[in-house]
Amino acid sequence: MASFKPTKIPIYPKLGEKVTQDTVYWKNYKAPVQIKEFGAVTNIHFSPVAPHNYAVTAFTRIHIYGPFSQEPVKSFTRFKDTAYCGRYRSDGQLLVAGCEDSVVRLFDVSGKVALRMFKGHTKAVHVTDFTSERYHIFTGSDDYTCRLWDIPNATELNTYQEHTDYIRCGVTSKLNRDLFITGSYDHTLKLFDARVDKSVITMDHGQPVESVLLYPSEGLVVSAGGRYVKVWDLLKGGQPLVSLKNHHKTVTSLCLSSNGQRLLSASLDRHVKVYNTTNFRVVHNFDYAASVLSLALAPDDESIIVGMTNGVLSIKHRKSPEESKEVSHQQRRRPSYRVFVKGKNYMPKQDDYLVSKPVREYLTKYDKHLKKFNISKALDSALQRKPEVTVAVIKELDRRGTLKNALAGRDEKALSELLHFITKNMVDFRFAPVLVPAANMILDIYRSVIGQSPVVDRQLLYLQDLLQKEINYQQELLDVLGMLDTLFASSVPRKELLCLEGMNNCTLG
């Protein structure tokens, strides 16, 4: 027995917008949690050890948040002035932070009072970090110097006076205990080696450097300053590899995704961009409400944390697998629990005969109507759905040759609903081939009664207006088509065959 075939809904791709693996991945985050901090959030740093708390430096405080907490689990408030750059040590036990009052403070994560105070800088300290062997601290300051300190006896080991402007960013190498990189407002990046007590590589960024990032392999270094993000090869002595200009205001923060395949940059223009690190193309873009100052990704990209100038900390958590699935299968009704449990403990035996139960087909409302040949009702119920569905049903009715009957015999309200749908979707080139004949039919059917209902008349006038606009527009497009033809023709002589093939491909696909 031939069964009823449900109406096929074609899927129309939208031109120009590609759904890539990246967009799927980066869109898979929940709505952000927003926390108001006391001032602009200048730095966010994740603890390297589980449970991966993170330190948020804002105004005169450092708050420690847990991975899913919405309130700080701990806060360090013993700063006399604005704090900067709160960073964890690699074992997650100690936290170091600079301050506007030039004193560097070292905290125990469980304590409250500073364990050590490092005094020596003469101006605000914006950069602090631990070296890889964990007993030294590296700092960079607005007094143009960067220094190394010994933690146990709180003494200064060395001072490097090579920069000629404020030092605002820097990182230490995670592999070598003696290497660290600083970025300064004098437009340069310098790689220092503590063994030779001077810089070994100098790279000119061209703009005041706002942020520096080392690749996990430490062969490459990424710097951000002005509107540019630049990638340098350290193994080739600081050769510039890539220069990216995808922001329209200063780039303030950089971050790598956990697998090292994606680079994220945050900027004052309120965007966060995601780059593919193999070809350095922008693969995704996040928009925020205010200028972004700091950015951090949790391990395994579990959450994206962004601090803004207005003091708002925005936290986006990744959707759990169940959640992202639920969205797609929300409508489906689950069988009851009893059905679920029944026969749960049954062990299949070898000579069991398996009876395949026919899968019951679920028909949508319009298909049910179509099956019963209630064509008007089918059209009515399809009108409530997405335009793709409605158009598919109209097409199906047209194929059956009953579209005229479905359209006829409508009262004022039903007709105006239909006309409303047509005016709304007429200009969509995907639907026009179906809707234009339908509109023609409607006019033929209702020609005699036009002018009796002001509602319908108004909609017809609106449709006419729209058609006029569309025709004007298409005429312009025809102009453009002519121009394009000329352009193509002028480039034909060189690669005639290739071009023609391309043309065919274009028109076909």
């Binding site: 002035d81 965007h271 080139f429 509109a439 036009i450 002018g451 058609l467 606009k469 394009l484």
Partner: protein
């Protein structure tokens, strides 16, 4: 200084009258002072200072309650003291010009103007609780003590290195707190610093005594709040002078805007505190002040207000005053021009309370009453001039006005966003549309090109929208001409995306696309992979244009139908015209009549009879033919009409 200016412009003064809370004095954005009656919820008085635009009101303070009548009746009143109600009368307003206005609510007019004390804007005014003295603190770092009996300044001293932003007189009238960079406590008899308190890094906006001074003077506490600070600090004045740090702090959600406090008279009584923050939330605290407390205290109850729409929006609270018992509070909310007042019972057992109010209905109600009951005071006509010199409220002193202008400029340059700048560019194009200033216009398109490049680089939708919505051909052409070559292809890609939309918006985009094709022809033609680059665009246009014929036909059909409907509507009134049109047939018959007349004439010569008959028959045939042809000709005319319409349409389109 700049921050002070912005603070004054942001925080509008809003004060309840003391004790009975009968009035709410509010100085709104328009510079007018409005006094609302909190019992009847109506506008009690409105007063427009003569210089309300140049010298805006920065602070308000209600004078201590006093009885209105004066002089000889005093004895009588003493006997009736139980009955006579004390009324709040005088209101001191500090202005940005450095003067202090004293307004009397009993008279409904300006009482006097205090001038000549300050060279900078007044930040704060405070009344002495008993003597008729007034203290004002100013941007010029001085505090002035005014004597209201004489209307002159009594003394004047430098209080701080920075502007004096806040003042508070102790309840017993012996001490004065002032806040500039540091908080200082002055002995009012000697005008000497009694104590200093440091701790706030920003300007202190709120000062308030929390206890009356008990016999053992370790129990004197006061409260301070600063701008951009989400903590209210409580300080203890200790006999031994060990009062370096604040003893208690209260956490808020934003900086405090209005603070109301019921002080405790003994150690056993809790201090009750209601703080309205800048974000429009009210926080209620209750705390026993007995020594330091390490942790910041969070509110015992937080009150928010929202409206009753489908998607509720918060209504900002403006001020709140605590009632006699713990549960009731007097709230003022809404906007400054039309505040809504309400005595609300707040369930303090809940940590968080949200009150929903239909602000629109209540607004309109108060509007009606406001119109009917406004008492219009005589503005400035008979104001008492007590200071020698020029009468009335004079223009501000030059130095300060320049200062304030500078401040404004500073904030302007800081806050100008790209959108605003673009808006200004739009204005400038309107003004230069006549083509008189070509140089300017070219500069402006240059900006557009830069913006467009930036927008394309960062794919910022708002910038692109702004640029692509331009309607002026000249701007489009120049912008495209200035477009650097590397961004041409990304631009075409962006245009392709936008071409798929509604014809209204897409029509604008086509003009950009045309401009690109015209201006960058050679560049595009030189591209080796041109076809693959523009293939998407070409394909998209082709698919869209496919329906052109059918759409045009449909349009023609619709046009015909709609015009017919229009004419049929009008034709019901002019049916006579149709009748005249039918006369054509009668003319033909008249021809026949003439012919019959001829017949009559020709009757005499009967030779041509047969010919005549045949003639008649021919004519009949002809007329039959005419009748047969008629419907055809009608349809033809219809068809012609349709064609004409189409021609017309096309001509319109062109």
């Amino acid at each position: 200084m700049a921050t002070d200016g912005s603070r004054a412009s942001l925080q509008l003064p809003c004060v309840f009258s003391p004790k009975s809370r009968q009035y709410l004095a509010l100085c709104a954005q328009d510079g007018r002072l409005r006094i609302w009656n909190t019992d009847s919820k109506t506008l009690h008085q409105e007063y427009v200072p003569s210089a309300h635009l140049s010298a805006t009101c920065t602070c308000i303070a209600w004078g201590p309650c006093r009885t209105v009548k004066e002089g000889p009746q005093r004895k009588k009143r003493k006997s009736e003291a139980g009955q006579v109600e004390e009324k709040a009368d005088l209101l001191a307003m500090g202005t940005a010009a450095g003067t202090v206005l004293i307004y009397s609510t009993a008279k409904g007019a300006l009482h006097c103007t205090l001038e000549g004390g300050h060279s900078g804007g007044v930040n704060c005014v405070q009344w002495h609780p008993e003597d008729s003295l007034l203290y004002s603190g100013s941007d010029d770092t001085h505090i002035v003590e005014w004597d209201l009996q004489t209307g002159k300044k009594r003394s004047n001293w430098k209080a701080d290195r920075a502007a004096v932003t806040s003042l508070c007189v102790s309840p017993d009238g012996k001490l004065l707190l002032s806040a500039g960079r540091t908080i200082k406590m002055w002995d009012l008899d000697t005008k000497e610093v009694y104590r200093k308190f440091t701790g706030h890094s920003t300007a202190v906006t709120t000062l308030c005594f929390a206890t009356t001074r008990p016999p053992d003077s370790n129990g004197l506490y006061f409260l301070s709040g600063a701008e951009h600070d989400r903590l209210l600090s409580v300080w203890q004045v200790r006999e031994d002078g060990r009062d370096k740090n604040s003893v208690v702090s209260f956490t808020l959600t934003d900086e405090p805007q209005h603070v109301d406090l019921v002080p405790s008279n003994s150690k056993e009584e809790a201090v009750r505190l209601a703080v309205v923050c800048k974000d429009g939330q009210l926080h209620l605290f209750e705390h026993f002040l007995n020594g330091p407390c390490k942790k910041p205290l969070s509110p015992s109850c937080t009150v928010q207000m929202s409206d009753t729409k489908d998607s509720p929006a918060p209504i900002p609270l403006l001020a709140a005053a605590l009632g006699a018992d713990t549960r009731s509070a007097l709230l003022a909310y809404g906007n400054h021009l039309q505040p809504v007042m309400e005595r609300a019972e707040i369930n303090t057992a809940e940590r968080h309370v949200c009150l929903t109010r239909d602000i629109h209905t209540s607004l309109s109600l108060s509007m009606e009453t406001a119109v009917s009951k406004v008492k219009t005071p005589v503005v400035n006509a008979k104001s008492k001039v007590l200071v020698p010199g020029l009468p009335g409220h004079q223009a501000p002193i030059k130095g300060t006005s320049q200062g304030s202008e500078k401040r404004k400029k500073d904030t302007d340059t800081k806050e100008m966003s790209i959108e605003e700048r673009l808006g200004e560019i739009d204005l400038s194009t309107v003004s230069t549309e006549k083509g008189a200033l070509k140089g300017k216009a070219s500069l402006q398109t240059d900006n557009f090109a830069v913006l467009l490049v930036q927008g394309l680089e960062s794919k910022d939708a708002s910038i692109l929208n702004k640029v692509l919505q331009t309607r002026k051909d000249m701007v489009i052409n120049k912008t495209v001409a200035r477009l650097p070559l590397p961004v041409v292809l990304p631009f075409v890609e962006e245009l392709t995306k936008r071409l798929q939309g509604h014809p209204c918006t897409a029509l604008l985009i086509v003009r950009w696309l045309k401009a690109v094709l015209v201006h960058h022809t050679s560049y595009l033609a030189s591209l080796p992979d041109l076809v693959t680059q523009l293939g998407v665009l070409y394909h998209m246009i082709e698919t869209r244009v496919k329906m052109f014929h059918k759409l045009t036909k449909l349009n023609g059909k619709l046009h015909l139908l709609m015009t017919q409907v229009a004419t049929s509507d009008s034709s019901t009134t002019v049916t006579d015209v149709d009748h005249t049109a039918k006369l054509v047939y009668e003319e033909e018959s008249s021809d026949e009549d003439e012919a019959s007349g001829d017949e009559g004439l020709q009757d005499a010569d009967s030779d041509n009879w047969e010919e005549e008959e045949t003639m008649e028959e021919d004519e009949k045939k002809q007329s039959d033919n005419d009748e047969e042809e008629d419907p055809d000709s009608r349809t033809e005319s219809k068809a012609n009409g349709e064609e004409d319409m189409e021609h017309e349409n096309e001509s319109e389109e062109e």
